[in-house]
Symmetry: C2
Subunit: 269 residues, 2 copies
DNA sequence: TCCCCTAGAATGGTACGACCATTTATGGTG
DNA sequence: CACCATAAATGGTCGTACCATTCTAGGGGA
């Protein structure tokens, strides 16, 4: 109760956006703190003087933005949470996905990021963190010589290693970028792990890089990274030759074919 | 019509997510192309065998993800669009806002990106592009010695220069990242332009960098960039000293104060 | 014939009410 | 004291009605 009620009635026509905006402001300005729930939908409905549908749509938007988390049942509701890197990464991943980025460009970008991350990690990470990285890379060795390794597990370990390293750089933006890249192209490093040859080399390379990071040898570590990406480029080139896959983007369909209804313009499954 | 109807009825309990997911897959797999609209809400309602509210919530999610654009009226509907950088930058900005990212981290990230971009631009851009960059940087000189420069125009020119340079790197990812950064922190480089001293130095530095790129002198160009960011760091440090702004994040409130209703836990306006 | 303008249709936006499903708290029963 | 049934709170779904906006087609006037 009380409260010059925090929220004011929404204007019609864009009530949804209005409500979402007011709630977002309240959250970002920390008038509602992480861990606390927003009022229930029915309560908000009263405060905003609007229909419940509007409230629900606004809440969906906030949920999508990663600002809140929704729980069902008694004591349920929309709980404010801290934005986490993983939430934000999705949009970049989506973006990269829909724009058909050439894997070679992704590799190039990642190499650039990786080099900086490595450099920073050597300078900033604690001895314990560096040692942890080495230990984690050691775990990869169980995959060597296996004829049929569990690619899912291997990919996940690789991903975790990359994120761990990014964290060690001590700059959250790098972690964000790395997570986004992993989300968008989890299948990416897979190409390297597919061939037993490359797999072994890549795993050894990971271990050596970690060791060089732990030993504070930036030049050696950067050299290892160069080797890794040279292998990746080589591998990608081989793939491309096998399947040139022109991937021409279809142009936007114009609407002059007025004879078709919307869902007739849709490609068949 | 036709169609083994593209979409299948949604399960209850999480129908909204289900619908959103199916629509997203249809869009990302290009079963529905950019510029074409999804079926109307009422049509989707039939295809998914669900209520209209569910459809609307799903559509809100897609809109928030930046996958579609909604138009009212006849021939209105949810039109698929290509994802644009603005969506990425919005979530990036949101992330930085709620997590109180240190500007120094942004600068660090940008420096890393800038160095790679410069390196690539020297290797890949055409002579004409490089000359264009030089010409554009020359235009900055009109701002030197002006006591009250139009910061808006200056900021815009700086932004365009950055994006132009990113384009010259010949890898779209760098361009997009640069655009996102510019949109997310347009105010960022402003700090450098605010002081007449730094302003002049920064402008001269831009020109020198462009010239060195045109002359294919990567090492000199990288040195110039280092100087630029050293100045930026210095400038940011000065700002921080003036306003330490501890910005302690309040810890998550626990729920043991069961006597208060949800909206009583909210801070007053 | 040509232009404008209005009426209708299509579509998203809002409101309300009912009921279901899930979760938590409460209190009774063994 | 432990366990379980019941009630209450809350999000999730459905359906209907109506409003607001936009496009289109057809009619009326110049």
């Amino acid at each position: 109760m009380s409260l010059p009620p925090l929220f004011i009635p929404a204007q019609v026509g864009r009530a949804g956006e209005d409500v979402a905006l007011q709630l977002e402001v309240a959250i970002l300005s920390e008038k509602i703190l992480p861990g606390v729930s927003l009022p229930s939908e029915r309560e908000l409905q009263h405060q905003f003087q609007t229909g419940r549908g509007v409230i629900r749509e606004a809440i969906r938007v906030l949920k999508q933005k990663g600002l809140i988390e929704i729980r069902k049942g008694s004591k349920g509701g929309a709980y404010v949470k801290k934005i986490e890197v993983s939430n934000v990464s999705e949009s970049l991943a989506l973006f990269l996905k829909q724009n058909h980025i050439d894997p070679i460009h992704v590799a190039e970008f990642r190499e650039s990021i990786d080099r900086t991350i490595t450099y920073l990690a050597i300078a900033r990470a604690s001895v314990a963190e560096k040692q942890l990285l080495v230990e984690k890379t050691k775990e990869l060795f169980v995959f060597i010589d296996q004829p049929e390794p569990d690619m899912k597990v291997l990919g996940e370990m690789d991903r975790d290693l990359n994120i761990l390293l990014a964290k060690m750089a001590g700059n959250p933006i790098f972690e964000w970028i790395m997570r986004a890249l992993q989300l968008g192209f989890s299948s990416h490093d897979q190409t390297l792990y597919e061939h037993p040859d490359y797999r072994e080399k890549t795993i050894i390379n990971w271990y050596e890089t970690a060791q060089q990071i732990a030993d504070n040898e930036p030049l050696s570590a950067l050299a290892s990274i160069s080797i890794h990406y040279a292998a990746l480029r080589h591998c990608l080139a081989a793939h491309n030759n096998r399947a040139p896959a022109e991937a021409q983007r279809p142009e936007i369909l114009l609407k002059e074919d007025g004879t078709l209804s919307n869902h007739d313009k849709v490609k068949d499954l």
